[in-house]
């Protein structure tokens, strides 16, 4: 197995991705390919006394995709970037999976245009595991602002296979993000989607799920368009941060509360950490023909290492094979139904 780490990506590049790649190389029996500026990597390794293990290889790249770059720059003027070179190597079979903490839009666009989708998959999706009462996949969490009902069905299918394979959930429950539980709620498109998903044999559809139920384990996969998904993701992040800030205010209100807060300091820090969506690793680009994992922009070495582990699990469970089979089965069944 050959896993690429885009070491120029994320807020803490290149040091943390380099450290993450090196610890992953030591921990797992895989080949790690660090893609980035050779000179910079050599300098950072020298400055930080990092010795590269034998199973780490460096591939040079000449530029970096920034957060401000347009999504399509990765296939155009910045095809020579660490992300662009990584995607090209993946597409050419020179590696089996890749991890990047860079620009999400560029990573999604590049995955689709360079690595390409699985045959029969209409849209690939950014899939985030929300750290709720039980791990819950939000798909799409930002790639496609508008989607059709059959794309939602495919999201549900891909999310189900992921949750089954990587979280051992038998027959994952799929909910449709909506503003009410009744089938008639939401936009016209959502009412139609509800009806369509209800009849699907590909997924275990449990109906509409509202935002207030979301954290309490009512389903394993939430399907939605990328606009709604990204809204859910960012409001979740904002409100969790806000509530924790208020709690901090309560705890530092006076000397007595400050003293009391000390007794639960560790648990509170752990709780705060659990709200950062990184608990379950990065966000896989589901529907792409090779595993592409988007690590968080703020990833440290540990998170990069976890994303490499996630890429390995992605590969070794045969997820992409399962998705290909499911979509092929669907296509042939619907073609037959059409011929009858």
């Amino acid at each position: 197995m050959r896993i690429i780490v885009d070491v120029m990506s994320g807020d803490n590049a290149p040091l943390e991705p380099i450290k993450g790649a090196v610890t992953a190389a030591a921990a797992y029996k895989v080949e790690i390919i660090m893609v980035g500026d050779e000179k910079v990597i050599a300098e950072v390794c020298a400055d930080n006394e990092i010795k590269l293990p034998q199973n780490v290889e460096i591939v040079n790249s000449d530029s970096v995709i920034t957060m401000e770059d347009h999504a399509l720059s990765v296939v155009r003027e910045k095809a020579d970037s660490s992300m662009g070179v990584s995607l090209r190597m993946l597409a050419d079979g020179k590696a089996d999976a890749m991890v990047s903490a860079g620009n999400t839009g560029a990573l999604h666009a590049g995955s689709t245009l360079v690595v390409r989708r699985i045959k029969g998959i209409k849209r690939s999706a950014i899939s985030t595991i929300l750290p709720f009462e039980n791990p819950t996949m939000l798909i799409d969490s930002g790639a496609n602002t508008e989607v059709t009902k059959d794309q939602l069905e495919q999201f549900g299918m891909m999310g189900s296979i992921y949750m089954k394979k990587l979280f051992n959930i038998n027959d994952p429950r799929v909910g449709l993000a909506n503003i009410g539980t009744e089938p008639t709620k939401g936009t016209k498109a959502l009412v139609e989607a509800y009806e369509y998903l209800s009849r699907s044999e590909m997924i275990n559809f449990i109906g509409n799920v509202e935002g207030k139920q979301l954290p309490f384990g009512v389903c394993d996969v939430i399907v939605c368009d990328g606009f709604t998904g990204n809204t859910i993701l960012k409001v979740t992040e904002g409100i969790a941060m806000y509530v924790m800030k208020q709690i901090k205010g309560v705890m530092t209100a006076n000397p007595l509360t400050k003293l009391s807060a000390l007794t639960m300091k560790h648990q509170l820090l752990a709780l705060k950490a659990s709200f950062s969506a990184s608990e379950y690793g990065g966000a896989p680009m589901l529907g792409i023909s090779k595993p592409v994992i988007k690590a968080h922009g703020s990833s440290d070495a540990e998170e990069i290492k976890n994303s490499v582990r996630q890429a390995i699990a992605f590969l070794s469970t045969g997820l992409i094979f399962d998705i290909s089979e499911a979509v092929a089965k669907q296509t042939s069944e619907r073609a037959e139904a059409g011929n009858e």
Copy 2:
């Protein structure tokens, strides 16, 4: 001033709305009209030793809109409901404002069809004040799942007038709910709306606002379609509840943390209460030609009383007059611009 309280509405009807109406009648120099089943009201008052003050009048109604009823039932088979009778009285000038804790969809539909919109207002909106770092109006928070850019502009205008008049905010900052701050983010409709709102002279538009910024006082009014608004509202509610539940878990983890939690019990309860959106009263139906306030379904007497106070403030600040003037000015200016 004559204010209607729909005493058959909400989870705690009729006792809490009756108590709320009676305390409001005692607190404020207004006439209170309780609309509901006369017999039931008499029984509840007798059972609870509630004596009606002189400025309380009872108007009989024969049925009740439930949470399961279709929104349009209030103008059809249940026009004789407490909500239907209240709306009709308001429309006929027999009262100046109304408060109901009932079915939101029915209250919005009934307000639009019976009481009617302000002339020139294309859509009325349910407007919720979110209890964040500063009070922030979310408009539309659930009435219209799909809206146009000029409807969003009117939402911004109405929200601005409300925040100016009722919260003394000079030149309220209006943000557009979106999944990124750049003008190019979101759906095609949102990109167009951004451009349109940027050129508006009716509102102080500050650009796109993301979910993660939302609680931290970046704007005073957030405009969006009702689907996005309701998603924001319900995710906010869900996440706040979830985080508080986790905090409770930390605090009751062991005898030491339990003891410590006692030192901050009052502050924590106050914090929890502040997340219930009721801190700033009910949700006004902005754009309707008379004040209609939707109190929370779970309202107790205190919240009903606060909603009556809110209705009084709504009336005494001349909000509806200001909205009418603003929309008339807009209409004539655009007509002139069109003639040039």
